[in-house]
Symmetry: C3
């Protein structure tokens, strides 16, 4: 079964992607419900949705690159934490209008961690190609351990 080798390498990433799609649909329905009566300038939820959607392709691209280059389990774990941060960010906009809103960017630490995973993965590949030394297993273990650090608030 040729095709299952592909699925084996990506199934955790696919699951996180599906959860993020579910969240997108939830956000969109929230916007549709809340912004029907209000004008667009006063609708804060629409703004939160826009900010989330602006960073969504960036997040997807980095998560998939990290998962393919190094190891899918820590990448999917970081993805799950990103989705939780995003949920919290969106809910922060649902409160009182007088309340201060969260900033434009969120989840910078997770994007940074995933980018680092990509760089380590490519570096590891180049080391293996030009020097023949293979640290992949060690690197994967360290990455899995390091991903737990993302849980620190």
């Amino acid at each position: 079964m040729e095709s299952d080798k592909v699925v084996e390498r990506i199934y955790l990433l696919v699951i996180v992607t599906l959860i993020s799609v579910l969240q997108n649909v939830f956000f969109a329905q929230k916007v549709e419900k809340e912004c029907k009566t209000a004008t667009s300038s006063t609708c804060r939820v629409s703004c939160a949705n826009r900010n989330c959607m602006d960073t969504y392709p960036t997040f997807l691209a980095v998560m998939w690159c990290a998962g393919l280059c190094l190891s899918q389990a820590p990448a999917a774990f970081a993805g799950i934490i990103y989705l939780m941060v995003r949920q919290k960010y969106f809910v922060g906009y649902l409160g009182q209008t007088s309340q201060s809103t969260p900033g434009y960017l969120f989840g910078k630490r997770i994007i940074f961690f995933l980018s680092l995973m990509c760089i380590v993965g490519i570096f590891n590949y180049l080391l293996w190609r030009y020097f023949g030394s293979d640290y992949q297993e060690h690197v994967q273990t360290i990455t899995s351990a390091a991903s737990a650090l993302l849980l620190i608030p």
Copy 2:
């Protein structure tokens, strides 16, 4: 020829992606043409384009996941239908200002079908891994048949 094995698994998805890119460029040029004179608040086409662009990454992610996890032909077929729905949605915004506009979301049924394909694909992989039973061929046949149901309006 190593690389053609990759192309074999994705070429239908690539074709649908290219068509969607063509459609994006068409939308963008329509916006550039229509909204040059009007102010941004009255330009309904710009709003339609924004809604289409907001859901574009979601669509791409789900289509590719479904195509990689299960089978590319039904995924590409669903993608084509999604693009047709999107075209109809966009054209619906081009009409009279007094006319009621379509809602914020569209193509929910197709996104749902593609998500289901992903879940079935992963479930099938896990069944094969832990129980050794392989239903991939049956599942692919059923999916191809089920994708025809999307044609029902």
Copy 3:
């Protein structure tokens, strides 16, 4: 090492993706800084960022398809040039308010080149599959040479 075969085929694309993510974060921080005091209607940087983000998924999809279908080096090269064009476009919005702003679309030539690469790659695959003739090496050489034409302003 099974997984390094995957990395070998995509590592240039991953590097370009990482650079684009870095650029996205730079854009977002510029928007956060510039638009804090101004109202959203007068904030031209926010508009530039929105236009860039609208076309970002399109760019990513086409670059990855071109890289997977044909050859990653010319695709990554075209990606780098696209990022430079985008930087110039964004900086063009940072100038005086009286100055005329660049249009809605940018980098059309590069998107067109990448789409052409996808089509050539698929065509080449179909030729190989149905006629057994293999021109992949020739096509890759021609594409690498043609990508240099993108440097012409």
